[in-house]
Every structure is written in C-alpha cells, then in structure tokens.
C-alpha cells in the first residue's frame, strides 16, 4: 500500500467521499457547534463541500495538487466563518505543495498535508491542545507516515481528545471553563476528512 500512487481521480474520489460524509454528519457537527459555538459548523461544511464537488465535476483538474487547490479555493469562496479560510487554506496549501505532479505517493501526500497544516496553524494562531481542528489534523498527518488507516484512527482519537480540553481559540474560547466536556466540531469534521481518505484508499 505504501507504494500506491495516487492520481487526480483518487483525489476527486476523496473529496466526493468527504462531501458525502459531511452531508451525513452535518446534523451532528451543528449539534456539537451548538454546545460551544454558534450552531453552524455542519451547515458550513455542507455548503462548502457541495460547492467543491460541483467545481470538481465542472473542470476536472489533471493533477492531485490541482484538485486540492481548486477544492481549497472553493471552500474559501463559499464557506465563510472560521472553518472556510482554515480548511480552504489547508487544502490549497497542500495542493500547492504537491505541485504539478500527475501522481503522488502517500509520503508525498503526507508532506503536502503537513504544509497545509502549517498554514492552518499560522493563519489561526492555534497550537495542538487549544481544542481546535489542529488537535485532529496534527496527529493524523503524522500517522499518515504509517498508513491511511492509522491516519484516520489518529484523527478520530485526536477529535475525542478535545473533549476534556479548555478551548483557547475560536468561538468556544468565549465559554472559558464551560467549554470543557464538549468535543470540538472542527476536530470532528477533520476526523471525517481522514476517514474519507482511508475509505477511498481501501
């Protein structure tokens, strides 16, 4: 598996699977955001990924990097909120790091996503432990060095690990101590992205 090469079609399947998963889980994401945020994360992700699937269907980019750049741009232009620029930059920067290559390895994808995650950290000023999407993204990208499955598991565990955390960034931080005991919606949607990735890689 480690040597599988991933082409643009794979990345389109990934985004499509992510869109389906976000669609399914939108209610839960909004519910989580309702507890410690403003009850829109499910809708935001849904609106964004519907747009992503549409743009990828319209003009199929030929390279993996192109798919992620197009997806990221689309998220930036259609989501809004905190998650729009953050997820948008994650994918756009990852895609830029992948360059023009028609095919990439899992290791190249890992390195690309690492660039994307760095962009998220830089843009939002958060660090792991702040109860944000980074708590799922950072361990997931690290585990991608081992396998797609491990990355999905690490993302899921990272999302669960946000429950006892006190939020220091994003809206949840306004709640102070009261943010403790709730799972972060953005970390949860990040886990969905990596679950979708593992699913299409099977």
């Amino acid at each position: 598996m480690s040597d599988t090469v991933l082409d643009a079609a794979f990345f389109v399947r990934w985004m499509t699977a992510a869109a389906a998963s976000v669609e399914r889980e939108a209610g839960r994401l909004t519910e989580l955001d309702s507890a410690i945020g403003d009850a829109d994360h499910g809708n935001n992700m849904q609106r964004g990924f519907v747009a992503v699937v549409k743009v990828l269907e319209a003009d199929r980019p030929e390279a993996p990097g192109g798919v992620l750049v197009a997806a990221g741009r689309q998220l930036i232009s259609s989501v809004g909120g905190a998650s729009g620029p953050l997820y948008g930059s994650l994918l756009r920067r990852s895609g830029k790091a992948l360059g023009e290559a028609a095919q990439v390895t899992r290791e190249e994808l890992r390195a690309g996503l690492q660039a994307g995650v760095d962009a998220v950290a830089q843009l939002g000023g958060a660090a792991p432990g702040d109860k944000t999407m980074l708590d799922a993204l950072v361990p997931a990208v690290a585990a991608l060095g081992t396998s797609f499955e491990e990355a999905a598991t690490a993302a899921e565990e990272g999302a669960l690990a946000t429950v006892p955390m006190l939020a220091r960034k994003g809206r949840a931080s306004y709640l102070g101590e009261r943010s403790i005991g709730h799972q972060d919606p953005g970390a949860t949607s990040s886990a969905l992205l990596f679950a979708a990735l593992a699913e299409v890689a099977k």
Partner: protein
C-alpha cells in the same frame, strides 16, 4: 419552528430581496450578497465596508448610507461572509481614497477580511482594517481569540462614517476608528437562547428563571448562568463589568441594545437602571441610544455599551446619518 421564513436555505437571500424592495436608496446585490449605497463610489471620500454573519440586523446592512457605511457584506446566519464579498464591495465603493474594513473580532471575520484585504490590494485598492473588540465578558489575551466585537461596532461605524463623510484621509479615519474601539466596552445578558433557521431549535437550553451573563451575539452561552435577576441587578452587574475595564474620564455614549426579542418597553426600563448606576458611579452621559441595533435573532436579553467621547468624537457622533437603521441630523 416559530419562524417567519420559507426554508432555512433562503433566509438571507429572501431578506436581501426584501431590503431591496424597502430601500430604493440602496443597491442590493442579492446574488453576490453585497449592499451598497446607491451614490457609491462617493468622490473624494474614504469608503467604509463592514460585514459579518447575518442575524444581527439592522447591523450591518441597516447601517449603509450617508454618514455611515458605504457597503455591507452579509454572510449566512452567524457565519462570516467570504472574501469574495468584501473584495467586490471594496471595488464598488472605492473612490481612489481607500477603504476601511470594520471587522468584529471573531476568528472567522478576521480571517475572511484579512484574505479579502490581500486580494483587494492586489487589485489596486488601498485597504486599512480596524478590529472591534469590546466585550468585557471575554478576557483579552494573546493566548486566546481575544474580546469579541459586539455593540461598540455601531459606535465605530457611526463615528468613522462621519469622519469619512467629512473628507478625512484613510489614516485619520482609521485612527479615529481605533480610538473609538479603545474607548468602548460592552457586556451582554441573555434571558433566552435564540433559534437559528438551520438548527430550528434554541442554540442552548436556558430554563425560565435563569439567565446567562456575559453572552455574545451568536447564540453562544455566556460565561456564567445564574438565577433570574431584576433589571436593577442586571444593570449593576453589566455596567460595573464595563466600568471595571473602561474607567472613563470623559462623558460616555450609552447604547442600551436589545438582543431581538426583548420589548422596547423593557429596554427603556433597563435604561433607567443603567442611568442610575452611571449616576451613582459619577459617570456623565453625553448621549443615549435605546433599541434593537446589534441583535442575535430572537434572543431575549440586552447589552450595555459605553464609549467615552471627547469633543471630536461627540461631534462626529452627532453628525448627520441617513441609513435604514440609524437616522438623525440635517
């Protein structure tokens, strides 16, 4: 769902069509979600652009017009707009003297306006931004997202809008806006949660007989839940929270703001208590505004915002304004 809507998905688009029908002096681009004053770009004038999630009306669209904003960019309900909106708005209102973005301090608004500023500057528009962060319920620290932007946004948009209307250059309008931010603080209280169209049920569960202290304007719970308090007690708590952070040495503008579902009758009664506390604390009041200005859909509750003003800020506050949501002067 007790909502006067068609479906959740079209709430913002429907509202924009309704604004267009009601206000011929606005150009409402419902598709691209930009509201622009009809005479824009106004020659030789710095332009003001603001925006944010919908659900806070009349903020921001109701503050577009002579003496206040040149354009507003409404996002989905409680969701920051996307950069494309601000870029389009900036291009539509820039007279060549630059654009000031008035941004409420929320991660989403900050990031989207930041991207928009970069894109607009790429297109040759000079952009400055001012961040409104007035809510004392949230601790200000570089380790956190910082204080939220709430009621004081109205002070900033009004005063900076008047400055721009007077022909001041971008740096001065920006400096004035920043001065208003530094001079303003707010505190909010919820007596009920609000219901977003997308969720269709209250954003949090607040039993009658309890209230939330230190809430924002996005239906998020507050810092603390308590047994219901009287208007008098709430005024003591809220005003003291604001004064602790502001310590005004000058007269203040007072905004007693309704969150959306609290009757004006009650807001006026609350204003009586706010004035009593201010009198007791020996803080002179220059002007008072009571009403629903920076709302949170159908939330019951209120916020108090104070802004200490010198002669210049007061003159700009009193200057004529002609928008759907705020009008005075001649």
């Amino acid at each position: 769902m007790r909502m006067l809507i068609n479906v959740a998905e079209t709430v913002v688009a429907d509202a924009l069509r309704g604004m267009a029908a009601a206000h011929p002096d606005l150009v409402v681009d419902a598709e691209n979600r930009v509201i622009v004053r009809r005479d824009a770009p106004v020659a030789e004038k710095v332009a003001l652009v603001s925006g944010g999630g919908s659900g806070h009306e009349p903020l921001h669209g109701g503050f577009v017009g002579p003496g206040m904003l040149d354009a507003a960019c409404p996002g989905e309900v409680f969701t920051s707009p996307v950069p494309d909106q601000m870029v389009r708005a900036a291009a539509a209102v820039d007279s060549g003297r630059g654009v000031l973005f008035v941004v409420k301090n929320y991660t989403g608004d900050v990031l989207n306006f930041q991207m928009a500023a970069e894109l607009a500057e790429d297109e040759g528009v000079q952009v400055a931004s001012v961040l409104v962060n007035d809510d004392v319920a949230v601790t200000d620290s570089t380790f956190t997202a910082g204080r939220r932007g709430t009621g004081a946004t109205l002070f900033v948009e009004k005063i900076a809008g008047a400055a721009a209307e007077e022909g001041m250059p971008l740096e001065r309008v920006e400096a004035l806006a920043r001065r208003v931010v530094e001079s303003s603080r707010s505190f909010g209280v919820a007596l009920s949660a609000c219901t977003t169209p997308a969720k269709g049920s209250p954003t949090f569960d607040l039993p009658p007989g309890e209230l939330e202290l230190g809430v924002g304007i996005h239906g998020e719970p507050g810092r603390e839940r308590r047994a219901m308090m009287t208007s008098r007690e709430i005024a003591d708590f809220a005003v003291d929270a604001v004064l602790e952070d502001l310590e005004p040495r000058l007269p203040v503008l007072v905004l007693v703001n309704g969150m959306g579902a609290t009757p004006l009758l009650e807001l006026y009664g609350f204003n009586a208590e706010v004035r009593r506390v201010l009198d007791e604390r020996k803080v002179p009041v220059a002007r008072t505004l009571v009403g629903n200005y920076v709302t949170s859909l159908d939330m019951a509750g209120c916020s108090v915002s104070l802004c200490q003003v010198d002669g210049e800020l007061l003159r700009l506050w009193d200057a004529p304004v002609e928008t759907a949501g705020l009008r005075w002067g001649r």
